[in-house]
């Protein structure tokens, strides 16, 4: 029992680190995008202000039980994703509950929150929620195709599905990273990564600027607070997953921050350069070049 409590305490501490890191990242990205647009942008702690603001709203509406539970599902999905992954390789406390399952568990758990939030938003009865969810689900599933292939290429290369083992295999310098030892799989994974991070050009389902559409417009006050918190955690967790899979993992929090930040910047830069895809365009994009790269990755990795 003590073991479990100790682990829970460690995980909570990890969560705090990752959450704050995630919030700062969101703030920073907003600034970067604003600068590219020629604006100054909000302060870096704007996400904190947003959460405090939404938390202190005095009114809240509910369309029903599922609507009420939707954000809970969503944030359980985000935190759970983080909790089932080792964050820092070799650290005694940043292992979370990664003993519960391997990378298959982690990638399936991504959908837990998505599905729960979708159910909640759909109960609102607002057609725009449903349209936003449809777009999000459709695009995310398409992005999974190259990702699945990349994952299988890694499984073929390392003959393991354990994230810890995959990270362990990449230790000993940049030459051992999967980025170098399996560049095609990394390419496939990174192409999928663009879709999974939901940045432009793959952010039509959020459509943050012009049309109020999708779950974030229906949820408000404390629900939105939960969702905003989740977004920072979820963002960070996905970055950590990709770092672990392709870029050698991290042996300290510092390395983790550097690597994930660099990874995020790839997506952010692509986002400010490329215009947004419509949903069917993004799906078509995933099932062409990324799919081909993914198949190539598997073939090469299985050949070895």
């Amino acid at each position: 029992m003590m073991e479990v409590l100790k682990q829970a305490g460690y995980s909570l501490a990890t969560l705090m680190v990752v959450m704050n890191y995630g919030l700062l990242l969101v703030g920073l990205v907003t600034i970067i995008v604003a600068r590219v647009h020629g604006r100054i942008g909000p302060p870096i702690w704007q996400p904190y202000i947003n959460i405090l603001k939404t938390l202190s709203m005095r009114t809240a509406l509910s369309h029903g039980i599922m609507f009420y539970l939707g954000p809970v599902f969503r944030i359980v999905g985000g935190i759970g994703l983080l909790f089932f992954m080792p964050v820092v390789y070799g650290s005694s406390w940043m292992q979370n509950f990664s003993f519960a399952g391997d990378v298959i568990l982690v990638v399936y758990f991504v959908f837990f929150g998505m599905l729960g939030m979708a159910l909640g938003a759909a109960e609102s009865g607002h057609p725009y929620s449903a349209i936003g969810i449809m777009r999000g689900l459709a695009q995310n599933t398409a992005a999974e195709l190259p990702f699945a292939l990349a994952l299988m290429a890694l499984a073929a290369q390392h003959q393991t599905l354990s994230i810890t083992d995959i990270v362990a295999a990449q230790q000993g310098g940049i030459a051992h990273w999967n980025m170098i030892t399996n560049p095609v799989a990394t390419l496939a994974g990174m192409l999928a990564f663009f879709g999974m991070m939901m940045h432009s050009p793959f952010d039509v389902h959020l459509a943050p600027q012009e049309i109020p559409i999708g779950p974030p417009t229906e949820f408000h006050s404390s629900y939105l607070a939960l969702m905003q918190t989740n977004r920072s955690i979820f963002h960070a967790a996905k970055l950590i997953l990709f770092m672990n899979l392709f870029f050698g993992g991290a042996t300290s929090i510092f390395v983790m921050v550097v690597k994930t930040f660099a990874l995020l910047m790839v997506v952010v830069f692509a986002g400010v350069v490329f215009p947004r895809y419509r949903v069917e365009q993004s799906i078509r994009w995933f099932i062409r070049i990324p799919l081909a790269v993914g198949i190539l990755a598997v073939v090469i990795s299985a050949w070895k």
């Binding site: 809240a60 029903g64 509950f97 298959i104 759909a122 449903a130 999974e144 994952l151 290429a153 003959q159």
Partner: protein
């Protein structure tokens, strides 16, 4: 013993006495007529009984005290006794059926009938070739007159055509007999054969061949061989159905027996020609039957086909190529005799010739049941005699190296199944197209009794044959006994029947399961346990549901028998029972006519593949250690493996062979759909399990074959999910989902390693739970809303919260999202595939499972979330028994999700030592060579997180203001009719657009084309039967030429 001469004495004597009797006392003639027929029948039965019990020897009767060649002699051996007994029984029953018509036409019709019966007896009994000719003429002339008895134009012209064809046959026969007599100096059949041989090489030999040709040609016409059979079709079509029944059942049998006697005279060279003619006729008649719309003519095609098949069997038997051919022939003959007569009799009762209008008998459950029984018998379903005969036939043919024959015979049988069940579909579901709405079925008590008698007799013969043919027949009989027992409860309230069925399943399970182990234990627990839960769900039925519970019990029982089977025959028997019972369950759906037919045709084709597979393995794939497929040398194993795998792929709806499945799953009644898709779909999985166990991986080509099956599984999983996402109909969505889910199981099994098999079996159970749950929940929704279109629903969460919870749990489990059971199946599957090195398949399976999220969300959103329609604002929660069954399943899902080991450990035990052990348990963690999974820990973490975060939300926002469902605003405006804003129709349009390239229904188009081609060929071939007598005569001559060419080939 009573000498068979009395048969002729009674017939002739009474025939001449009848007019006198009628004058003496009105109505006396009928009594005496029936008594005479009974007397004739009794004589033949007495012989049969005495011969069977060994109380007498074969009877040789010499007329006038001389021996042949100076006298005509009759023989009553076992064969003759069987045939005369059967013919006399049928004609007696036929007379009872026809008695009102016959007496209405006066004594002359009864006289004709007696002569008809006498002629047929003579054809069977006589050993004199000229006498045979005479009896054929008597039978023929009596039947022309009987056919024309209606005195309408159709009957008269048909009688005339019959007479013309008969005369042609007579001319050739007489010429043949004259020449043969000239050469051999005898008319005795037995001596002719022996003398003919001695003429080879002499000058007389030049005459032998033409004489024999004329003789055989004449008999072939009598046997109504293709294409010289247009006249016969017109006869079946136009005569009173009672008369057609007798001609089809009786005189065709007599003609068959006659040719059986004649062929040895013709010599061995003719056997092959006759067999080819017979099988061509079988295929052609059944092919043309596909386009037939009239009941009488359709039965005519079927009769001609059956005669062709019998001719093939007899010829090949005489040739020595078919061991135990007598059994095959007698089984086929009796089956044909009773079932065909029964169907003709039914046609007479309904008085409806267009099969589209056969809906008239839908409201007569007894007649419908009889029809179903005769259909099952004619199509060769167990336990009817044709089933055993066809099995033996195919087994013998394969072991004799006659593979091509098997192909033709199975093809012909498939055509027959198609048109017979098309007709049956109209009867059950067709309604009446343009007839009056009143009840036009005009049965009389004696007619109904005769039909029942025919069915009872058929069943008795079936029971007898089953006892002889199958091992452990008592056990195999259990499903049928259970179903028959339930028929006794048909008049009770449906709930009583449901409870009785449930009790029967539970008791049966209690009796057999403790004695089982391994795969039989797994599948029996699965089928019976699952069946019981699903039976519980059916208890909400308030409608009469006639025949539902017997068929359901039969299906569950046959699935259990399938899992218990230890020989190929037992397996195939159970397989066919399952097919038939599930077909009826599908057909019960309101719009199920076409889907049910498609299901039947595909199932039959699959079953024939399975049968051919068993045959090619020597009949003992699933039984006999070291025998069958496992004992065959490497390269020989490929054929049975491919055939069996193809058959099972049809059942699991593997991509390309799946076109029957969406309709069958979706159009069955709502609770049946749940059963069919959650339980029945695993029958194919069971087939694969048995096959893979027996076949192993050591044979030539196994790597490619398993890999192909694996790819088919993966592709099926993908397309199943993709199509499911595009459906508007909730049940179609679930149907496509089931197709896809079974694909994963096949993929897992084909990996042929421990993890793959555990994955497949685990996923079977898991799929049963969540898919049963989803189908039952949707059944409740459809029951309340009256629609299956999801876009017509919406917002039902407020009215049906219990059903909503079911669907939500169901989709989470289905999608494979942790922490529910679905994840375990996925985790195991990927590990298995990685172990096997099937990375691409694993990636495709992974992608499929993400596509599954799409339809999962769509299902729950379109039905329960969004805006409600005004019509459904007041509907109630689903019926209690449906909800109860769902919550049992939910409890099971929760239990297995919490502790996956309680399901996986036993499954690992069942998979056993067949493969290298790859999976290990350490406390709650399951380890594979690649990864690990602790379901318990995942569940705990998720539950704890959920509880903590929910509490936080409750603390921050304890009482949000509740708003009504319609209280929505967008762009600062409130829609006047919010229900129109429910976004559900064509939900995934962008996906559809992006994947438009691969969403074309190629398989459906292909199979439609196959169907259209078959129908077009049938329609074209049908034109040769123009109804023109001259054309028929030309056809007879063309047939003669073809037969001549064929016989030349045969003789050389």
């Amino acid at each position: 013993m009573v000498t068979p001469i009395y048969i002729f004495i009674i017939a002739l004597g009474i025939a001449f006495l009848l007019p006198l009797l009628e004058r003496a006392k009105k109505g006396a003639a009928e009594t005496v007529f029936l008594a005479a027929l009974s007397g004739i029948a009794l004589i033949s039965w007495h012989w049969l009984f005495s011969l069977l019990t060994g109380r007498c020897e074969i009877g040789e009767i010499f007329t006038a005290g001389f021996r042949p060649p100076f006298s005509i002699n009759l023989r009553v051996g076992m064969e003759e006794a069987v045939f005369t007994s059967a013919i006399n029984l049928a004609t007696l029953a036929g007379a009872v059926y026809l008695i009102r018509e016959l007496s209405g036409r006066g004594t002359k019709s009864m006289m004709l009938y007696l002569l008809f019966v006498m002629g047929m007896n003579g054809m069977v009994l006589t050993r004199d070739i000229f006498n045979l000719f005479v009896f054929m003429e008597i039978t023929g002339i009596a039947s022309y007159a009987l056919v024309a008895l209606r005195l309408d134009t159709k009957g008269l012209t048909a009688g005339f055509k019959y007479a013309i064809a008969g005369s042609l046959a007579s001319i050739f026969m007489l010429l043949g007999i004259i020449v043969i007599y000239m050469i051999t100096g005898t008319l005795n059949i037995d001596s002719i054969a022996s003398r003919m041989v001695s003429f080879s090489g002499t000058a007389a030999a030049g005459f032998v061949a033409p004489a024999v040709f004329m003789l055989v040609f004449a008999f072939m016409i009598e046997m109504k061989q293709f294409p010289a059979n247009g006249w016969a079709l017109d006869v079946y079509d136009s005569a009173a159905p009672g008369i057609s029944a007798m001609i089809s059942a009786g005189s065709a049998g007599a003609a068959l027996f006659a040719i059986y006697k004649i062929l040895p005279i013709a010599g061995e060279g003719w056997y092959m020609a006759a067999a080819i003619t017979g099988s061509v006729t079988f295929v052609a008649a059944n092919l043309i039957g596909l386009k037939q719309e009239r009941a009488g003519r359709l039965l005519g095609y079927s009769s001609i086909g059956q005669m062709g098949l019998l001719l093939t069997v007899v010829s090949l038997g005489l040739k020595g190529s078919l061991p135990s051919w007598q059994l095959i022939a007698v089984g086929l003959f009796i089956n044909h005799l009773l079932a065909k007569a029964g169907l003709f009799w039914l046609t007479g009762i309904t008085g409806e010739d267009r099969i589209r209008n056969w809906g008239v008998i839908a409201r007569r459950p007894f007649l419908l049941m009889m029809m179903g029984l005769f259909m099952a018998a004619l199509s060769g379903f167990p336990p009817f005699p044709a089933f055993w005969s066809k099995w033996t036939l195919v087994m013998s043919m394969f072991s004799g190296g006659m593979k091509v024959w098997v192909v033709f015979i199975l093809l012909g049988s498939l055509f027959e199944v198609a048109y017979l069940f098309r007709w049956f579909g109209y009867a059950v579901r067709g309604g009446v197209e343009d007839g009056e709405s009143g009840d036009i079925v005009k049965g009389t008590p004696e007619k109904t009794a005769v039909i029942f008698f025919g069915a009872a007799l058929l069943t008795a013969v079936a029971y007898y044959m089953m006892g002889k043919m199958i091992d452990n027949s008592t056990l195999m009989l259990m499903p049928l006994v259970g179903a028959a027992g339930l028929l006794l409860f048909e008049r009770f309230d449906p709930r009583v029947r449901g409870i009785v069925s449930l009790a029967a399943v539970l008791y049966y399970g209690y009796m057999i399961i403790p004695g089982l182990s391994g795969m039989p234990l797994f599948f029996n627990s699965f089928f019976l346990g699952g069946g019981a839960i699903m039976l519980l769900a059916t208890l909400h039925r308030r409608t009469a549901s006639r025949g539902f519970y017997p068929m359901l019990l039969l299906m569950i029982g046959s699935l259990s028998a399938l899992a218990l089977s230890s020989t190929s025959l037992q397996f195939f028997y159970a397989w066919e029972l399952m097919t038939f019972s599930s077909y009826i369950l599908v057909l019960r759906g309101k719009k199920a006519m076409k889907p049910a037919l498609l299901y039947m045709v595909f199932s039959a084709a699959g079953a024939y593949l399975v049968m051919a597979g068993f045959a090619s393995a020597g009949g003992t794939v699933f039984g006999g250690a070291g025998d069958g497929i496992a004992g065959m040398s490497g390269s020989l194993q490929m054929l049975p493996f491919i055939l069996l795998a193809a058959g099972f792929l049809v059942k699991v709806a593997g991509m390309g062979l799946h076109v029957w499945a969406p309709g069958a799953y979706a159009e069955a009644e709502d609770d049946s759909s749940a059963i069919i898709s959650s339980i029945l779909s695993k029958a194919g999985v069971l087939g694969f399990v048995f096959l893979f166990i027996k076949a192993g991986t050591a044979f030539t080509g196994s790597t490619y074959l398993y890999s192909t099956i694996g790819w088919i599984g993966a592709i099926t999983a993908f397309f199943g999910a993709l199509y499911a996402a595009m459906q508007e109909d909730a049940k179609k969505l679930l149907a496509w989902s089931s197709i896809g889910q079974v694909g994963y199981m096949i993929l897992g099994l084909a990996a042929m390693n421990q993890i793959g098999w555990v994955a497949a079996l685990y996923h079977s159970v898991s799929h049963f739970m969540f898919k049963g749950l989803l189908f039952l929940a949707v059944a409740g929704v459809v029951y309340r809303t009256g629609t299956r279109n999801m876009y017509e629903m919406g917002g039902l969460i407020k009215r049906m919260p219990m059903s909503f919870i079911s669907v939500m749990i169901g989709i989470i489990a289905l999608s494979g999202v942790p922490p529910l059971t679905g994840f375990g199946g996925k985790w195991l599957l990927y590990n298995a595939l990685i172990e096997r090195g099937w990375y691409l398949q694993a990636a495709l399976a992974f992608f499929s499972s993400t596509v599954a999220f799409l339809y999962c969300f769509r299902l729950v959103h379109a039905i329960f979330l969004g805006q409600a329609k005004p019509a459904f604002r007041k509907i109630k929660e689903a019926p209690r028994s449906l909800i109860a069954a769902q919550y049992i399943l939910i409890m099971a899902i929760m239990m297995f999700s919490m502790k996956p080991s309680i399901l996986i450990k036993p499954i690992m035990g069942i998979v056993g030592e067949r493969f290298d052990t790859l999976l290990t348990w350490q406390a709650n963690t399951l380890y594979s060579p690649f990864g690990y999974w602790n379901g318990f820990a995942v569940m705990m973490v998720v539950c704890a997180l959920f509880a903590i975060l929910l509490v936080i939300l409750l603390l921050i926002s304890p009482k949000p203001q509740k708003v009504k469902q319609f209280n929505i605003v967008f762009a600062a405006e409130r829609p006047e009719t919010p229900e129109t804003t429910h976004y559900a129709w064509k939900f995934f349009t962008p996906y559809e657009r992006a994947f438009s390239g691969i969403l074309k229904p190629a398989a459906t188009r292909f199979w439609n084309a196959v169907g259209e081609w078959a129908e077009a060929v049938a329609a074209m071939s049908r034109h040769i039967y123009s109804g023109n007598t001259g054309a028929y005569v030309v056809q007879i001559f063309i047939f003669g030429i073809l037969l001549f060419i064929l016989s030349r080939g045969g003789l050389s």
